[in-house]
């Protein structure tokens, strides 16, 4: 790792598989520790970006930087990264106990006491064979390794796969706890379960079809849109209609633009959740869409 502030960045990054472009000019920068969300629909290019960022793949064009250096086959840069994958892949590792021992030699800031606490918190048996565990337990084991690694950049690719609601909430609480206790670490969550993670995120990148759609803090992003509802509600001047819906004779308009200080007569103004905004921005084919 270098001493610069840049944690990672992508500059006009493209990656094509035959005629299909998984990334089509993605540009983003992360230069401050915190919890970041990489939000996108399935096939938006999240995992491709993570693979390039962690030196598992090469871009077709453009540049990806990790700690200000090219990550591909770069031991110094990759030593600062740990990933919790979105699939059950354990190689020749037999059980969680063995995985923790291997991880202790892989990551210089490995925290065994945190690993022990998380084992209890996730209710995992360290001697049970990883392949014999349920999908949820396997995911929990991967989250445990990633959180305990102490890696300056920790990536979670779809961290909630197979986890029940209780364990998911526990994970988000632990993530916030780790962020507070280890403020120099950066966590990147790649997910499409937006509503759940939104409370943990400091900054969000929304990507669609391999390009950056929107970025900002959750508050900033949610502040770019609002809902106007009422009988015969109309699009105010200066606002852009994202979606129109009719429910029991009430018109619900989702609009982008500055939120009015006062609601028009007979109408109510409400804020939009991050997930709602994400759906509005990415789903151009839904019923009631502005594009229809």
């Amino acid at each position: 790792m270098t001493d610069t502030n840049l944690i990672f960045s992508a500059e006009n990054l493209t990656r094509s598989y035959g005629k299909k472009a998984a990334l089509a000019g993605l540009t983003l920068t992360c230069d401050k520790p915190g919890i970041y969300g990489l939000l996108g629909r399935n096939g938006a290019g999240k995992s491709t970006f993570i693979r390039i960022l962690t030196g598992q793949d090469l871009p077709t064009s453009g540049k990806a930087l990790l700690f200000d250096t090219n990550p591909f086959d770069n031991p110094a840069a990759l030593e600062g990264v740990c990933i919790a994958l979105d699939r059950s892949e354990f190689g020749g590792v037999k059980n969680l106990r063995e995985w923790m021992k291997v991880s202790a030699s892989m990551y210089s800031d490995w925290d065994q006491s945190a690993a022990d606490k998380l084992t209890a918190r996730f209710e995992l048996d360290p001697r049970k064979k990883l392949r014999a565990m349920s999908r949820g337990m396997q995911t929990a084991a991967m989250l445990l390794i990633a959180l305990s690694s102490g890696a300056p950049l920790t990536i979670f690719d779809e961290p909630s796969l197979g986890l029940d609601a209780v364990v998911r909430e526990r994970f988000y609480d632990m993530l916030l706890d780790f962020r507070n206790r280890q403020p120099k670490r950066t966590f990147l969550l790649s997910t499409h379960l937006i509503e759940e993670v939104s409370r943990t995120l400091d900054y969000v990148w929304m990507i669609e079809a391999g390009t950056l759609l929107a970025q900002g803090t959750v508050a900033e992003l949610c502040g770019t849109a609002y809902q106007l509802s009422g009988i015969g509600a109309a699009v105010p001047q200066g606002a852009r209609l994202l979606r129109r819906e009719e429910i029991n004779g009430i018109t619900i308009l989702t609009l982008s633009g500055e939120r009015p200080t006062e609601a028009p007569a007979g109408c109510a103004v409400s804020s939009v959740s991050l997930q709602r905004l994400f759906v509005m921005l990415t789903d151009n084919h839904a019923e009631g869409s502005a594009d229809k």
Partner: protein, 261 residues
Amino acid sequence: MRGYLGALNYFARTTKRNVILIVALLAAIFIGMFAIPPIFKYKLSYNGMGDNGLYLFFMIWVMFRAARRDTIFLTSRPIARRSIFLAAMTEAAALAAILALTVIAFQNLGYLLNGALTKAAPQYYGASNYLAAYTFTPAGTWVEFLDSFRRFLPFGIFAYTYACFLTRWKGLTIGLSVGVPLLLFAMLLLPVIQNFLTDFTKVAESGNTASALVVAPKWIEIAQNVVGWFGRNFRKIYWTVCACCVPLSFFVMRTTRYAGS
């Protein structure tokens, strides 16, 4: 360095279980070999456990897996490919040494046990143990160790290289590994058969059947010369190919996009 140590730790842990397994398997064969003669009333013709087939198979299997399953796992951690490669090569050398030591251990143990049992029950034991007699000296043990190591290490590297190629270009590698030997065989043998048949027909038509017996060795001689050349230069070819495989396998695995990673 951390990546290398982590990969090495991973390889050590996964291979340790398999080494224990192979030693247990060899011990079972060893015990069975010495226990069976009194049960079935026959005399053991013990000439050492000189067959290295099982060890070589194990070496190939471990290195084949190191190039595929283990590399996929380690690249997705993520660990730099050069660290994984160096760890895999270290594993190959360490495993070759462990297997060579295992060979020596079983050879000498067998020699001692056979000697003791020959005195105790000469009706069941007592065959000459010329292999172990040769190795059961400090110099012989070292020679045997180095000889076993020399055999295991290149086989491990060949297996690793082949697995790297197979992962990168599956169809092409399978095609070449089947097609090239077939082509060589056809190139070498078809003209030989064709010419032999032509000459044989000529001889047969001439009515002098005795000359047909002279024609056959002429073409077999060419094949013998080719095989002989390979035989005489085998060590040079073997070690040159082995030395080339090390950088080649690295360049192939470095640019492979692993499925799922």
